[in-house]
C-alpha cells in the first residue's frame, strides 16, 4: 500500500487492496466504526495480526465552518466555531473571542474572564469524561462508559442552566459574555464539585489496578517527546511523554496565574500514561473550579463600549423569553437613535481593525489556536483554526506500527480525536 492511494471519496479499494507486499493484507476500518470516534477511516496493512503500515483518511465531517465565518459578522462567528470541536465548545468560543478582542485592543471585564476560566475547566472535565467513557467502552470496560456519561450529564446540566444549551453554547462573546451567571449556578457547580472527587476515585479504583486495562494500555502506542514535538503533538499526549508544556502556565491569555494548580506530567509515553495524565487533569481542573467560585469577583460581564457590546439585555418578557421588556420599550417606543444603533450593531456588526493575530489556548486536546485575519471590515477576512485533534492524528501511523490490530483501538482512543474539530 503506498501512501497516496487512499482517498476521502473512497472507490480506491481495487488499487489499495491489491498493491501490497508479500504476505500482507490490507483492511479497512471505518469511517463508520464505533472505535473511530466519529467518522475516521483507517486503512491498515497487516502481516498476520501485526500492523505494518497505517493511514488515516479524514474529511467526512468537513462542513466549511472556516469559510462560513467569512460571510458572517464577527459576533456570529462564535456560533460557528463552537460547533467545531463539539466536546470543547467553550474552548473554541474563548479562543475565538480572545482573538477578536486582541484585534479590537480590548479586554473583557474581570468577572467575564474568571467565568471563562470556570467554564473552560468544567468543559475540560466533561471532555475528558467522554474520552474516559468511550475508551473504557472500546477496551472492554463497559461500565466506565455508563459512569463517564452519567457524570458528564451533570456538567451538561450546569451548562444548560448557565447558557441555555447543553452543547454549542455561543455564550462567550467578543468583549465578555452574553449574560451573567443565572441564580443558582454557583450552588449547582458546588454540588458537582463536592460529589465529583469521589467519582474520580471510583474510576481509578475500577481501572488503575485492573489487569485487563493495564494489559491493553501499558507499553502500547509509545510516542516519545522528540517525535511528538516534531509532529506538532501537544496537550495530554505531549505531557504523557514527560514534557510539562501547558499553555495555562506558560502563556495564558486567561487569568490562570491567580489559581494554584499543577501540570499533570508522566514519563511512560504510552496509552496508560495518557490515562493517568487525563485523570490527574480532571482533579486539577476541579481544584481550579473550586478556587474560582470561592473568589468570584463582581462587576459587569461585558465591556461598557456601546459600539461593541451587544445592545440588548436578556430578560424575561411577558411571553417568558426574549429581551428585557424595559429595553424593548426604549427602542420601540422612546428612542429612534437607540433603535438605529441596535439595528446597525446587530445586522451589520462592528468593524475590527485590519491585521492578523494568532491566539493559542490549552484545550483538552492540546494547543487550540485561532489565526484571525481582519481586513478592517465587519466580517472576518479569514479564520483559520489550528485544531489539536487534526495535528495529533498525524502521530497515529507511527504509534500503531508493530502493534497488534486490536491495539489500534487503544491508540486511537488515547489520541482522543474529535472529528468535528479535525474536519471543521
Amino acid at each position: 500500500m503506498s501512501a497516496s492511494e487512499v482517498f476521502v471519496g473512497g472507490q480506491d479499494w481495487d488499487v489499495v487492496s491489491t498493491r501490497t507486499g508479500e504476505d500482507t493484507l490490507v483492511i479497512n476500518m471505518g469511517p463508520q466504526h464505533p472505535s473511530t470516534h466519529g467518522v475516521l477511516r483507517l486503512v491498515l496493512e497487516i502481516d498476520g495480526e501485526t500492523i505494518v503500515n497505517a493511514k488515516s483518511v479524514v474529511g467526512y465531517l468537513h462542513t466549511g465552518i472556516e469559510k462560513n465565518t467569512e460571510v458572517r459578522n464577527w459576533v456570529q462567528g462564535v456560533t460557528f466555531v463552537t460547533r467545531m470541536d463539539y466536546l470543547a465548545p467553550f474552548h473554541n468560543e474563548i479562543a475565538y473571542c480572545l482573538g477578536v478582542e486582541r484585534l479590537l485592543g480590548i479586554t473583557a471585564p474581570e468577572r467575564a474572564q474568571v467565568i471563562r476560566v470556570l467554564l473552560a475547566e468544567l468543559n475540560r472535565i466533561s471532555s475528558h469524561l467522554v474520552w474516559l467513557a468511550t475508551s473504557g467502552m472500546e477496551l472492554g470496560a463497559l461500565s466506565m462508559m455508563l459512569y463517564g456519561f452519567r457524570e458528564r450529564e451533570m456538567i451538561l446540566d450546569i451548562f444548560e442552566h448557565i447558557t441555555g444549551l447543553r452543547m454549542n453554547h455561543a455564550y462567550v462573546r467578543p468583549g465578555g459574555l452574553s449574560t451573567d451567571l443565572p441564580d443558582g449556578s454557583i450552588e449547582k457547580i458546588r454540588e458537582f464539585l463536592d460529589s465529583f472527587p469521589k467519582r474520580i476515585d471510583e474510576y481509578e479504583g475500577l481501572l488503575s489496578e485492573n489487569p485487563t486495562w493495564i494489559d491493553r494500555n501499558a507499553g502500547i502506542g509509545i510516542l516519545d517527546a522528540e517525535t511528538a514535538i516534531g509532529l506538532g503533538v501537544t496537550g495530554p499526549l505531549l505531557r504523557a511523554a514527560g514534557v510539562p508544556r501547558d499553555l495555562r502556565k506558560t502563556e495564558s491569555t486567561l487569568p490562570y496565574e491567580r489559581y494554584d494548580f499543577d501540570v499533570a506530567v508522566d514519563d511512560a509515553a504510552d496509552c496508560l500514561a495518557r490515562f493517568r495524565v487525563r485523570v490527574k487533569e480532571m482533579r486539577e481542573s476541579l481544584r481550579i473550579c473550586r478556587q474560582v467560585i470561592d473568589d468570584l469577583p463582581g462587576g459587569p460581564v461585558m465591556i461598557e463600549d456601546p459600539k461593541i457590546a451587544w445592545p440588548a439585555k436578556l430578560g424575561l418578557g411577558p411571553d417568558g423569553l426574549g429581551n428585557e421588556p424595559g429595553y424593548i420599550q426604549k427602542i420601540m417606543g422612546e428612542s429612534m437613535e437607540a433603535l438605529i444603533h441596535h439595528f446597525k450593531l446587530v445586522t451589520e456588526g462592528f468593524k475590527v481593525p485590519a491585521g492578523e493575530v494568532y491566539v493559542p489556548i490549552e484545550s483538552p486536546r492540546g494547543e487550540l489556536g485561532y489565526h484571525l485575519v481582519s481586513s478592517g471590515g465587519t466580517r472576518p477576512w479569514r479564520v483559520h483554526v489550528r485544531d489539536p485533534s487534526f495535528i495529533n492524528l498525524q502521530a497515529m501511523p507511527g504509534m500503531v506500527r508493530g502493534h497488534l490490530l486490536a491495539d489500534v483501538v487503544a491508540v486511537v482512543a488515547s489520541l482522543d480525536p474529535v472529528m468535528g474539530g479535525v474536519d471543521r
Binding site: 501512501a3 497516496s4 482517498f7 476521502v8 471519496g9 472507490q11 479524514v58 474529511g59 468537513h62 466549511g64 472556516e66 469559510k67 460571510v71 486582541r102 484585534l103 485592543g105 514535538i229 516534531g230 509532529l231 506538532g232 503533538v233 501537544t234 514534557v243 508544556r245 506558560t250 502563556e251 491585521g355 492578523e356 493575530v357 494568532y358 493559542p360 494547543e367 489556536g369 489565526h371 485575519v373 481586513s375 477576512w381 479569514r382 483559520h384 489550528r386 487534526f390 495535528i391 492524528l393 498525524q394 474536519d423 471543521r424
Partner: protein, 185 residues
C-alpha cells in the same frame, strides 16, 4: 517587543540579510517576512539554532484585491518554543499564477497535513511534500474553496464521476443541466 525575540530576529537578519525582513510587531505578536526561496533554510536554522522546535500552525490567507497579485497568498507559519513563551510568525508571500511554496515537511513533520489542507483549500503547491493531495474535499473536486474568487453558492453541487446537482433555482427546469442520473426535481 520581547528582548529574546528581538535578539533572535537580529541574529536571523545577520545570518540571512537577504531573506529575512525586519521584524514587525502588531497586536503584541512579532512577524518576519521570509523570501519564498529561502524558507526551508531559514526554518531549519530557526529550529536548530534557535528554540523553535514546534511548528504550531501553518496556514494560508488569500488577499485577492487587497494586496497586489505578487503578494496574493500569504502563508503564515506560527512557530513556538516548547519550554519558553516565545512565538514568531514567518510570513511567506506566494504570487498569483505561480502558487508554489517550498514544503516545510522536511523541517517539521507537523507540516504534512497542514500543507495538504492549504493545497486543498488554496491550491498552493508545496514543493518537496511527499504526498500532496486533497485532504478534506473529494479528490475530483473542481477549484479551491478558500480562495476569495470561489463562488458562494449558485453553482452545481459536485459529486463523483462528473455528476452534479444544479443549484436550487435551476432544478427541474431543464433536464440537460442535471448531471445526476437520479431524479432530483
Amino acid at each position: 517587543m520581547d528582548e529574546r525575540l528581538e535578539q533572535i530576529c537580529a541574529r536571523a537578519r545577520e545570518r540571512f540579510p537577504e531573506r529575512v525582513s525586519e521584524p514587525a510587531e502588531a497586536f503584541g505578536e512579532v512577524s518576519v517576512e521570509v523570501a519564498r526561496e529561502g524558507l526551508v533554510e531559514v526554518a531549519t536554522w530557526l529550529r536548530d539554532e534557535e528554540e523553535f522546535a514546534l511548528l504550531a500552525d501553518w496556514s494560508a490567507v488569500d488577499h485577492l484585491d487587497v494586496e497586489p497579485d505578487e503578494r496574493r497568498f500569504l502563508c503564515a507559519a506560527h512557530l513556538a518554543s516548547v519550554s519558553a513563551p516565545l512565538r514568531l510568525r514567518l510570513r511567506v508571500f506566494v504570487p498569483d499564477g505561480d502558487e508554489t511554496c517550498p514544503s516545510l515537511v522536511g523541517v517539521w513533520p507537523a507540516a504534512d497535513c497542514q500543507e495538504r489542507e492549504m493545497f486543498d483549500f488554496f491550491g498552493i503547491r508545496f514543493e518537496g511534500h511527499p504526498d500532496l493531495r486533497r485532504i478534506f474535499m473529494p479528490e475530483e473536486w473542481d477549484g479551491h474553496p478558500q480562495r476569495k474568487d470561489y463562488p458562494l453558492g449558485g453553482t452545481n453541487v459536485q459529486y463523483q464521476h462528473g455528476q452534479f446537482i444544479p443549484p436550487p433555482d435551476r432544478r427541474g427546469q431543464d433536464t440537460t443541466t442535471t448531471g445526476y442520473p437520479g431524479r432530483i426535481s
